[in-house]
């Protein structure tokens, strides 16, 4: 299976949040570690048929990459936007 199939990206003010449902097991560890608490359950399903995660709309995601680091399955990629100007 292509690990990137069904991936989705949510654009925030400071960073892109990409989730790979083929990898997300719905453990919730990322949610608890997000310092600004902007990760929530998604309607999309992960590899075990449990809810995957997403960032909230108009999210205050800072692009800190903590969620990416603490995901045991590497299901999240954070791509900070280059500084404007």
């Amino acid at each position: 299976m292509d690990l990137k199939s069904n991936s989705y990206t949510i654009e925030g003010e400071k960073a892109y949040f990409t989730l790979f449902p083929t990898l997300c097991k719905g453990c919730g560890l990322c949610m608890e570690k997000c310092p600004v608490k902007v990760i929530e359950w998604s309607d999309k399903l992960g590899v075990y048929g449990t809810p995957a995660v997403q960032v909230k709309e108009d999210s205050k995601c800072t692009g800190c990459k903590i969620c990416e680091l603490v995901c045991p399955d590497c299901a999240i990629t954070i791509t900070p936007k280059r500084k404007a100007k």
């Binding site: 097991k25 560890l29 570690k33 680091l69 399955d73 990629t77 791509t79």
Partner: protein, 248 residues
């Protein structure tokens, strides 16, 4: 715009998602190890050995030469490989059951002989694969399948302090540390120093990683983190216990 999966380069992508449970700390320890291997650019020299128990689920985890053994024997097997092929970098990966109970003699003797290998031991306070029985690392009073009323210290003794023991029996030149998957960058740096110790050839290197087992702890994400970071660290102190002296 195309976004790629953020995964250590030495991880074997074809075998992902990996076989560990949701929220299992093994994925994090192996991420720290993968990042360390990538940063040191040693992927083509690494020989990785995993043990029986949940650690064996790493048998196809990396794009490196890998073998799997039983009951702590990953330590002597990696020792043998290292002695036959000193140019290789040998990593023995095991759980607390294999390393501190069933196969503790292997860890003790490899440390006492100051073998030039790196041992990484995952401490999640239970026997994971067999269903959450009491392990040498189970906390005092902690309920498990085989300690339903909580671990009784007067009968079963205190939890094994692995890095403290290894630090006491290794010679100068060894590297010994305890990290946690709750501080992944620190854990990666400890593993990196352990591998550098092996490369420098000054002695045995050992990293215990405090880790999570939500399946057998029966914890949700919040309680998984708090058991790891608040309960386990009361008993298992995170930090470096032995560091090789810097060369002048």
């Amino acid at each position: 715009m195309e976004f790629d999966i953020s995964m250590p380069k030495c991880w074997r992508r074809e075998t992902k998602g990996h076989k560990f449970c949701p929220g299992c700390g093994h994925g994090l320890v192996l991420k720290a190890l993968g990042l360390a291997i990538d940063e040191l650019q040693i992927q083509d020299r690494v020989v990785f050995g995993c043990d029986i128990g949940c650690s064996l689920l790493a048998y196809d985890f990396f794009n490196v030469d890998t073998m799997q053994t039983h009951h702590g024997r990953t330590t002597p097997v990696i020792t043998g490989i290292k002695r036959a092929r000193p140019d290789r970098i040998g990593i023995a990966y095991m759980g607390d059951g294999g390393g501190y109970a069933i196969g503790s003699q292997h860890l003790v003797n490899a440390a006492a002989r100051n073998e030039r290998i790196t041992a990484i031991l995952v401490n999640n306070t239970v026997y994971g694969m067999t269903g959450g029985q009491m392990a040498p690392t189970t906390l005092p009073g902690m309920k498990t399948e085989t300690s339903p009323y909580g671990r009784e210290i007067s009968q079963t003794g205190y939890p094994t302090q692995g890095p403290e023991m290894v630090a006491a029996i290794t010679r100068e030149g060894a590297y010994v540390a305890r990290g946690t998957v709750g501080k992944l960058s620190q854990l990666k740096n400890m593993i990196k120093k352990a591998l550098e110790t092996q490369i420098a050839g000054t002695g045995f290197s050992f990293v215990e990683a405090l880790s999570t087992c939500p399946t057998n702890w029966s914890t949700n994400a919040k309680d998984t983190w708090s058991f790891l970071e608040d309960e386990m660290t009361k008993y298992f102190k995170v930090g470096e216990l032995k560091v090789p002296a810097k060369e002048e």
